[in-house]
């Protein structure tokens, strides 16, 4: 009844090609963004910022990156946390050795360095696909892990192998309090979501999707596989590199090479599978799900008044997590984003049943 396109006619091609052609969509999105920017800083507690919102925003950025590669271009990668690590260490070294650079410049440079590394490790994708490519990315994960633990230059010869950072300062604004960090991350995320959304709507995104659906046919119609695959690796590593730099600087503050290990890679992969592959909105849903789930699983026994030892709670978390993944794959392989679009479809007919 409310969610209808009736009466919304477009007079120009430009208007027709909008990201959100339906007025209700635009209003809703505007409301959400306004709420996030203007209302949240006052409503949320510090705990909500630090434990839920900040990791959610950072991991969403990384999930968007991984989704571009896996969901839109169809190349499997189980080693993407390594590129996050590259971004984090690159940012750390840039801040250390060129302290006069603005942090936004550092962020973009770190992303570019991660993109270069990503493209390097993406070269095998030109020869192999599927599970075999997954092994190649695993090689990247372990090799990069090893490199940051062993090559002392990266950690500034710290004997403990651990690096720590100072708070970010942007144009005199010290990003230190939780709500400051939240606003900064939100701004970065919104900007780069728009970039990603436009990328996938453009000819690069179409090249990726063609490669994903049937790469031989794509090559036949003139899409160069080198171009499509390497740009996919590059752009997705750029996003992950930036996310990694933010993860290290804004969330952790101090990290060791083990912070970007295989567990994080698998976490990212789960995010996009549960959220929905091939969908930017899916990255948001997946990241939210994965961020909130462990905390929820920890708190539910407390609310129900059961006292579980932390060990049991931890194991239970593992079990529920695994079961949920299988359940999602069986019931809705296209993830939460598909559920969202089904919901919107139902909303068009509401309150009528059909």
């Amino acid at each position: 009844m409310f969610y209808r396109e009736n009466g919304q006619f477009k007079a120009t091609y430009r208007a027709d090609e909008q990201m959100l052609p339906i007025l209700q969509d635009r209003v809703f999105m505007f409301a959400v963004v306004a709420f996030a920017f203007l209302a949240m800083p006052f409503l949320a507690t510090d705990y909500l910022f630090l434990s839920i919102l900040i990791p959610f925003l950072i991991l969403t950025l990384a999930a968007i990156g991984l989704n571009l590669l896996v969901g839109y271009c169809g190349q499997i990668s189980i080693g993407h946390a390594a590129f996050m690590g590259v971004g984090a260490y690159a940012a750390y070294n840039l801040v250390l050795r060129l302290p006069q650079l603005n942090f936004l410049v550092v962020l973009v440079l770190a992303g570019l360095i991660a993109a270069a590394v990503g493209m390097l490790f993406g070269i095998p994708s030109l020869r192999i696909k599927g599970l075999y490519l997954a092994v190649a990315t695993l090689a990247a994960q372990f090799f990069i892990d090893w490199m940051f633990a062993r090559v002392k230059w990266f950690t500034n010869y710290a004997s403990s192998g651990s690096v720590s950072t100072v708070p970010i300062e942007l144009f005199g604004w010290k990003v230190q309090s939780p709500s400051d960090k939240y606003l900064f991350l939100l701004a970065v995320l919104v900007v780069f979501t728009l970039v990603a959304k436009n990328l996938v709507r453009g000819h690069l995104g179409r090249a990726w999707m063609a490669t994903r659906d049937m790469d031989v046919a794509a090559e036949v119609i003139g899409i160069r596989p080198v171009y499509a695959k390497l740009t996919a690796f590059g752009v997705s590593s750029f996003y992950c590199g930036m996310a990694g730099a933010l993860y290290g600087f804004v969330y952790l503050g101090s990290w060791e090479p083990a912070a970007f290990n295989l567990t994080l890679s698998l976490k990212l992969l789960f995010m996009i599978i549960i959220g929905g592959m091939g969908s930017i909105l899916g990255a948001y849903f997946g990241a939210a799900f994965i961020t909130v789930l462990p905390i929820l699983l920890n708190q539910i026994p407390l609310w129900l008044g059961l006292s579980l030892s932390t060990a049991t709670a931890s194991h239970l978390e593992s079990m529920i997590f695994g079961a949920l993944i299988v359940a999602f794959l069986i019931l809705e392989p296209h993830g939460l984003a598909k559920l969202w679009s089904i919901g919107k479809e139902k909303l068009r007919l509401w309150p009528f049943p059909h």
Partner: protein
């Protein structure tokens, strides 16, 4: 059929959304409730009972809980202020440790009292956050070695020892074994270490000592979690070091001893740090670990008067956190000492600020002004387990002693008297490292005048 399933899933998604909003208000209401409650001192307990380090983390965690329960049952808390606690599983992972810290730091009427992160990696991360949130960190026998310098590290307390003191004591002991420290010249000493901030901590001191006494220092890292050690021990077999120092944690220790047995390296030439010298490390190797030596921060092995109290007030009432036969083991005792020092710090702070729930900042003063002599220690029931400890503004360590123990196949036995780490070597190193940290973080070291505050 399919449509109904999808409808059900939508219901799940909506429920999740509702749960999220409940979650958002949850911690807020818990906090509001807390502020109305009166005399309670909240201790967050960051522990790990799962994962490769679980076997060693569990007795430690059990001891902390048991001590709190015993105090509440026997004394009604600290001078009438009841102790509350909540455990949070970190799995020895830095990001989970940070998450636990953020979740629990504001709980309780006055916030978190202090934190024992049980991990050097998490300590590094929390060292950045603790000064901002004003919550002290007690890192007894671990953590950053340079945080001994209280003038720079106002909020870190590596009580009773750090990895530099540990490495120093081992070298002293080896020197004694060889007759004198000069006899170490030309010998090969290998360090097999856990490839993490924990394992890398002793390296600067060992390099310093190797320059002083001219022994060859070989570093052999083992990737976490340390189950696969064949290559490391093949290298040991090739290099044939005179002594092997083991800096492992969790499953890495028993794996190291098994590999040592398999490659025939004499266990009596192996010396572990005090975190590599507990029952979980040697029990399943049994006779194969006979002769293995390690440091021990405690000065006695087994039960003391406090254990009787714990058995009486906690375990006999069915409230024991872990199995009863765990009481009195090495890591359990160390957990007891940590919790006892935490509680005594609160008591000391109460002398200055009043017998009420105190903030982390106030308790920090307490930890910095601990003065436990032997009489007080005996009174607390820890007689024999500990030597006197007294901290100060510049010295956040309090005491630097340890003994060497040996596994005889079925139990640990002390094979040395107490050593004290050599201040002459440590002081300049600590000063240099903490100065470097202060410069990096733009911290102004405290002056003696600040200490009075």
């Amino acid at each position: 059929m399919e449509m109904r399933l999808k409808a059900k899933l939508m219901g799940v998604a909506l429920a999740a959304g509702a749960a999220l909003s409940m979650l958002a208000s949850g911690p807020a209401t818990a906090q509001a409730k807390g502020k109305e409650q009166a005399k309670e001192q909240f201790f967050p307990l960051l522990v790990y009972r799962t994962g490769p380090y679980g076997p060693n983390g569990t007795p430690w965690a059990n001891a902390k809980q048991d001590y709190i329960k015993m105090l509440n049952a026997r004394d009604g808390g600290i001078n009438g202020v009841k102790i509350t606690f909540e455990e949070c599983e970190t799995g020895y992972a830095t990001d989970r440790g940070v998450e636990c810290y953020e979740r629990l730091k504001g709980k309780g009427p006055t916030g978190a009292t202090l934190i024992d992160p049980q991990s050097t990696g998490i300590t590094f991360a929390l060292t950045e956050k603790a000064p901002i949130d004003k919550i002290p960190l007690i890192t007894l026998g671990y953590g950053r070695s340079e945080s001994q310098d209280g003038l720079v590290f106002k909020w870190n307390f590596p009580l009773m020892g750090s990895y530099w003191t540990a490495a120093d004591i081992i070298i002293q002991h080896l020197g004694k074994k060889e007759g004198s420290l000069d006899n170490l010249k030309g010998k090969k000493i290998a360090l097999i270490y856990h490839d993490s901030p924990y394992g890398k901590e002793p390296i600067p001191l060992l390099e310093e000592r190797s320059k002083m006494h001219k022994f060859e220092f070989i570093k052999i890292p083992v990737t976490a979690p340390g189950v696969e050690q064949k290559s490391a021990w093949l290298q040991v077999r090739q290099l044939r070091p005179d002594y092997v120092l083991l800096w492992g944690w969790g499953v890495m220790n028993s794996a190291a001893l098994k590999e040592a047995q398999a490659t025939g390296y004499p266990r009596d030439k192996m010396f572990g740090v005090w975190w590599a010298g507990a029952e979980p490390d040697v029990k399943d190797v049994g006779e194969g670990a006979k002769g293995y030596n390690a440091l021990n921060l405690q000065h006695s092995i087994g039960m003391s008067k406090v254990h009787q109290d714990i058995v009486k007030h906690v375990h006999d009432k069915g409230q024991g956190t872990g199995p009863k036969d765990e009481v009195g083991t090495v890591l359990y005792n160390r957990g007891l000492i940590i919790q006892m020092l935490a509680v005594e710090s609160v008591r000391r702070a109460q002398e200055r600020y009043g017998k009420k729930p105190l903030t982390g900042e106030q308790v920090r003063w307490g930890i910095e002004n601990l003065a436990l002599d032997q009489k007080k220690i005996d009174g607390l029931g820890f007689g024999g387990l500990m030597r006197p400890i007294s901290t100060s503004c510049a010295d956040h360590m309090g005491s630097m002693m340890a003994r060497v123990e040996t596994w005889d196949g079925s139990k640990w036995v002390f094979t040395s008297e107490a050593y004290t780490a050599d201040e002459q070597i440590l002081k300049p190193m600590v000063k240099a490292a903490s100065a470097k940290y202060a410069e990096e973080k733009k911290i102004v070291p405290r002056t003696p005048a600040d200490c009075q505050l």
